[in-house]
């Protein structure tokens, strides 16, 4: 260590901007808008990929379509670290309680994208073992049609969800919860 240390030149960003008009280094916004802006650009998806849509979801994550352009490439396989549940593929009655458990384990605030017609409505599996839409058990924010949807459609769904988050709109309850509320009221 030298005896006479020289001070380093100041980092250009550490001082006040050179040409800023005086008194303008702050701005006014609503807290919700700021939080919403931050949230919508850093979604952490939990890919609940069960079937064919999961392969298309891999396409969206792969370099060609590159979901990271929308700030949501950090896939988390633990629901406790995720705030966006992407249900990609058919949900059967056997996996439905597992899906509900995963949704319950996610911390608030959380959103759900139902990717593909199977997750949205059961699709063309009008059958004895297939849940006729995941909104029977969990709330859904964006439904993506298609069997499977193209990557562009999923990206569009994420953009729609970003708008929804930015506007601070609340998610609706699941179909079964709404049904239960109607029955008790």
């Amino acid at each position: 260590m030298s005896k006479d240390p020289k001070p380093l030149p100041a980092h250009p960003s550490s001082g006040p901007p050179a040409h800023a008009p005086s008194g303008a280094d702050f701005f006014v916004t609503r807290l919700e808008a700021l939080v919403g802006w931050a949230r919508k650009n850093s979604l952490w998806p939990f890919p609940f990929a069960t079937a064919c849509c999961g392969i298309e979801f891999m396409s969206v994550a792969a370099p060609h379509y590159d979901i990271s352009r929308f700030g949501s490439e950090v896939m988390r396989f633990s629901p406790r670290q995720a705030d966006l549940l992407i249900v990609a593929g058919t949900v059967t009655d056997k996996i439905a309680p597992v899906l509900r458990r995963i949704y319950d384990q996610m911390p608030e605030p959380k959103w759900v994208v139902s990717m593909g017609v199977c997750a949205s409505s059961g699709g063309f599996y009008r059958a004895y073992h297939v849940t006729q839409g995941i909104d029977e058990i969990i709330p859904v924010d964006v439904y993506v049609p298609g069997c499977p949807p193209t990557p562009e459609e999923l990206i569009y769904a994420i953009m729609m969800l970003q708008e929804k988050i930015a506007s601070g709109e609340k998610s609706r309850d699941s179909r079964s919860a709404r049904f239960a509320a109607e029955q008790t009221s």
């Binding site: 069960t50 064919c52 392969i55 891999m58 792969a62 056997k94 009008r126 059958a127 004895y128 073992h129």
Partner: protein, 576 residues
């Protein structure tokens, strides 16, 4: 149209009859020469017959292909209510055969299990129990396998309504009895039971593995499947032949095209029609491209699981480019629904050949990149070499087919052993490895991709520049739109086909092709109406996955993850 004759014995069936004459069961088994040599047997005789068929030096039916039920409730003719159909294959003699077991008791039919003779039968029998309610006496683990455990009734019986669902709560999901018992080795503090899945990044889809560990070693394991049971077989009983093609594409959704080809071949052979050479070549080329896509996902995902992320992006680039070709042909990327009974949905685009040739130029580059990263990589070699070993005898006993069987040293490839379309005209090799470990499976798949490209190159060389892709039998294929608008006859054919479906002659048939994971078979029973009376899909994943809980014994959990990757389990095909 030819009607499958129920009477005349084929030469293969005659030979089988001669061999049976020497067995202690002679005279108690009827022989039929349908599409395959068929034996009919009473339930009590079945285990003895199975033992004879497996061990007799002139039979040697060593590969257990399939076992499933048929419900004859609504079928014409004097038949018992239930039948069980078993398909066997003889590797030394390269021959399939069928055993039909008649079950007379209508409500709860029972028969002895053959798990002692054919270990591969275990899961097939569980499936038949689940979907038909057959009671296999002596079965080691007779529980539901596809439907959840709160399910009431047996879904593939003809009197079960296709849309009847049952509510399943979390506590209804079955946990094996041995896993509940926590103090199996009390005092040994390191014994513990872990549950991997159903939603776990290493399970690729939804599979549930319950394993008991002693330290790091797996001492007992059981796999739970059925989380993606989408009722394929029930759905196909309620649809017309051509409407089933989209369902087939969603069986093995990683190589969708091959499934459709396999299914329509069954219908075409029952109808006795031929697809023109151009149509066959398009099917071949796109099937081989699909095989490349399948292996790309298998290898890429497997390497991701063991920590090598880069390869996935290289391999996935292949897929994206093949998607472009498929999209140009039919408009869809993944689930193509491109084949129809008698041909294809539409003709290929004009630039099909140059597009395919361009693909053949780019794919080897990506494969070489992966090879460079993987082949000499110490970590990959340590994780894959010597883990998940399946010996030749085990692979055969567990009913494995496809790359799994070939990596264990058996050169059984349906494209070679029973060539369909143009495969016998091309020059290509069946890659085989003797090691039977995870690395061998990786190597076999890499080589198969190269062989697929070789096949595609030769197919493109003889690809006709013009000509029809569809059969001109208008009882099967929709007439051209132009003719429909201007010609009464064509309009009638069009109307009848759309409203009533294809009238496939009554009979039964099993056709099998080489899918991405092995022998992909479709067994159809037709009663002459627009849709199949019964359609059975033999998904190659099913026996492979049944063996998983045996392969991983003695290894660590991290080995099990690597092994699951090389098994290439596609849940859509596994659970159907």
């Amino acid at each position: 149209m030819t009607v499958v004759a129920d009477t005349a014995l084929s030469p293969a069936a005659e030979k089988l009859q001669e061999r049976l004459a020497r067995s202690p069961l002679a005279g108690r088994i009827e022989v039929f020469g349908l599409d395959l040599p068929t034996l009919e047997v009473a339930p009590a005789e079945w285990p003895a017959l199975a033992l004879f068929l497996r061990d007799d030096p002139e039979c040697r039916y060593d590969l257990f292909v399939d076992l499933f039920g048929v419900d004859n409730l609504r079928r014409r003719g004097p038949r018992p209510r239930f039948e069980i159909v078993v398909h066997l294959h003889s590797l030394p003699r390269n021959e399939h055969m069928r055993v039909r077991i008649r079950l007379e008791s209508p409500d709860r039919p029972s028969l002895p299990t053959v798990t002692g003779v054919y270990p591969a039968a275990e899961w097939f029998e569980r499936e038949a129990y689940d979907l038909y309610g057959f009671d296999f006496t002596g079965h080691p683990n007779l529980h539901r396998i596809l439907c959840h455990d709160a399910f009431v009734g047996h879904a593939l019986r003809k009197d079960y309504p296709p849309g009847q669902r049952w509510f399943c709560a979390e506590e209804d999901l079955r946990i094996p009895e041995w896993a509940k018992d926590t103090d199996e080795r009390a005092g040994h503090f390191e014994t513990q039971t872990v549950s991997i899945g159903p939603s776990h990044p290493a399970t690729h889809g939804i599979i549930h593995l319950i394993a008991r560990l002693d330290g790091e070693r797996i001492v007992r394991a059981e796999t739970m499947i059925g989380y993606l049971h989408r009722c394929f077989e029930k759905m196909s009983e309620t649809h017309y032949w051509n409407q089933i093609v989209p369902y087939c594409d969603r069986l093995n959704y990683v190589s969708a095209m091959i499934n459709g080809v396999g299914f329509v071949r069954t219908a075409e052979r029952m109808l006795g029609i031929e697809v023109p050479p151009k149509g066959q070549l398009v099917r071949t080329i796109l099937s081989e491209f699909s095989r490349i896509m399948d292996h790309c996902v298998c290898i890429g995902a497997n390497l991701v699981d063991i920590g090598a992320l880069t390869n996935f992006t290289y391999l996935y680039q292949n897929r994206e480019q093949i998607y472009d070709l498929l999209e140009a042909c039919c408009g869809a990327r993944l689930t193509v629904s491109y084949v129809r009974v008698g041909g294809l949905a539409i003709d290929v685009p004009d630039d099909f050949v140059p597009r395919s040739r361009r693909l053949l130029e780019t794919i080897p580059g990506f494969l070489a990149d992966v090879e460079k990263l993987v082949y000499g990589n110490r970590i990959v070699r340590n994780r894959l070499s010597g883990t998940g070993v399946v010996t030749r005898d085990q692979a055969v006993a567990w009913g494995m087919t496809g790359p799994m069987l070939r990596a264990s040293g058996v050169p059984y490839d349906v494209r070679r052993e029973r060539p369909y379309d143009f495969y016998d005209k091309f020059d290509w090799d069946v890659p085989v490895s003797r090691d039977g470990d995870n690395f061998a499976r990786y190597m076999v798949r890499m080589e198969e991709m190269r062989q697929s490209m070789k096949i595609i190159r030769q197919a493109l060389d003889i690809f006709p520049s013009s000509g029809p892709v569809n059969s001109d039998d208008w009882r099967v294929v929709l007439p051209p739109k132009d003719a429909v608008y201007h010609d009464m006859e064509s309009l009638i054919y069009h109307f009848k086909l759309v409203m009533e479906g294809i009238r496939v002659p009554a009979g039964e048939r099993y056709e099998w092709i080489e899918g991405g994971n092995g022998e992909l078979g479709f067994y159809a029973v037709s009663d002459g109406l627009g849709g199949p009376y019964r359609l059975r899909c033999r998904g190659p994943c099913f026996p492979n996955m049944a063996a998983f809980e045996k392969i991983i014994l003695g290894g660590t959990v991290s080995d099990a993850v690597a092994t699951l990757g090389t098994l290439n389990i596609i849940a859509g095909e596994l659970d159907r």
